[in-house]
Amino acid sequence: MSYAETMAALDAKREEIAALQAQMRTLQAAVEPEVVQDYALAGWNGPVRLSELFGAKRDLIMIHNMGTGCPACTMWADGFNGVYDHLAARAAFVLASPNPVDVQKKFAAGRGWRFPMVSYEGSRFAEDMGYREFGVAEFDDKLGGWSPGVSTFRRDGERILRLSNAGFDDGDGFCVVFNLFDLIPDADPTWRPQYSYA
C-alpha cells in the first residue's frame, strides 16, 4: 500500500471511530442518572461535601486518581492540567485521590497543577463509585486497590446525580500521548510514563 493509500485507510478507521462516538453521545443523552450520597471528603481548606465541589456550575467532572504512587495517573493529570481552563468553562473539574491533602498540595506544586483536588481519606466514595477494587491488578493492589477513571455528576436541587463514569487505559480519549505515539510505526512499544525523564 502506498503512503496515500494507508492514510486513506487510517482516515476510514477514524470515521468508524467517529460513528461509534456519535452512538455513545446518543447513549449518554438518554442515561438514567444514579442518585449518590453527598459524600464528605477532605478538601484543601478542611472537610468538604461533594455538593460543594460544583462551585457555580451545574455539572462536575471528578477524576479518580490513584495518588502520587502512579506515574500513569500523573501523566493523565498533566494532560488535564494543560486544558484545565477549557474544561472548567463548561463544568466544575476536581481531581480526587487517596493521598492526604498535605501530600496532594506538595505533589501538585511540584507538577504545576492548577485544578482543585480533594482526598478520599475517611470516605467510601471511591469504593462506592467503583474505583477501588482489590484483586484486579497487582500494581493497583500495591497502591491500595484504587483504580483510575472519571465520574460526572449533576446537582439537581438537593440531590446529586451521577451521569457517567469511565475507566482510564492506554489509548483512551482522555490522554493524547499514546494516541500520538500510535502515529509512529513501532511493533513493540515499550515506552511507559515516568514522573520525569532527566
Binding site: 455513545m24 443523552a29 467532572i61 451521569l163 457517567s164 480519549g173 490522554c175 500520538l180 509512529i184
Partner: protein
C-alpha cells in the same frame, strides 16, 4: 442491573470497539510505506533551522501543523500538548509549526506558558506540501490564510527524512481530550466552544 449500569456497560462496549479499531490502525501504521520529504528550512527563534535538525537526538519527530495565533481551537490543542510535553518529548522530538513569525510565536507562547519548541513555516511550501493548506475548503481557515490543523510524524533514516503518518486535527479526534470529557455529560459541549480565556 439498573438502568444507569446498563448505559455504562453499553458505553464501555463501544469503547472496546474503538480499542479494536485503534489496534487495526496500529497494524496498518506498522506497514507504512514512508513518504520521502525535502529537508525544509524553517524560521526558528535562533535563525533558519532545517527539518532534519528538529529531531535533536531522537529518531522520531512529531510536527504539529498549527494555524497560528488567530485560531482558538488550535490554541486549545496546543494547550493540551503542552500539559504532556515532557512525556511526548521522551519518546520523540515534538515541534509546533505555524505561519506566525518566530517573534509572534515567542510572545504568544510566553502568554500561554507553552514549553515546546516552535518554528515558522512562513515563506516555505512545507504546510502546502504536507497537505495542511487548503484554499477554499473552509471560510474560517481562509480568513486565517487557508492553513489547516494537523499532525505529521517523521523519521530520520540515515541522511533522509521520511514522513510516516499524518492526521487532521478536529473536535473528538484522538489528540485533544476535551470533547471526550464533555461527552460524559448528557448534553455534551452544550454550545461550549474553545476560547483563549474565559474570564
Amino acid at each position: 442491573m439498573n438502568a444507569y449500569a446498563e448505559t455504562i456497560t453499553a458505553l464501555n462496549a463501544k469503547r472496546e470497539q474503538i480499542a479494536v479499531l485503534h489496534a487495526e490502525m496500529r497494524e496498518m501504521q506498522a506497514k507504512i510505506e514512508p513518504q520521502p520529504v525535502e529537508d525544509y528550512v524553517f524560521a526558528g527563534p535562533d535563525g533558519p533551522v532545517k527539518l532534519s535538525e528538529l529531531f535533536g537526538d531522537k529518531s522520531d519527530l512529531f510536527v504539529i501543523h498549527n494555524m497560528g495565533a488567530g485560531c482558538p481551537y488550535c490554541t486549545m490543542w496546543a494547550d493540551g500538548f503542552n500539559g504532556v510535553y515532557n512525556h511526548l518529548a521522551d519518546r520523540a522530538a515534538f515541534v509546533l509549526t505555524s505561519p506566525n513569525t518566530p517573534k509572534v510565536q515567542a510572545q504568544f507562547a510566553r502568554g500561554r506558558g507553552w514549553r515546546f519548541p516552535m518554528v515558522s513555516h512562513q515563506g516555505t511550501s512545507f504546510a502546502d506540501d504536507m497537505g495542511y493548506r487548503k484554499v477554499g475548503a473552509d471560510p474560517f481557515a481562509d480568513k486565517l490564510g487557508s492553513w489547516y490543523p494537523g499532525v505529521s510524524a517523521f523519521q530520520k533514516r540515515g541522511q533522509t527524512v521520511v514522513r510516516v503518518s499524518n492526521a487532521e486535527l478536529g473536535p473528538r479526534d484522538d489528540f485533544c481530550l476535551v470533547w471526550h470529557m464533555l461527552d460524559l455529560l448528557p448534553e455534551g459541549d452544550a454550545g461550549w466552544e474553545p476560547k483563549y480565556s474565559y474570564a
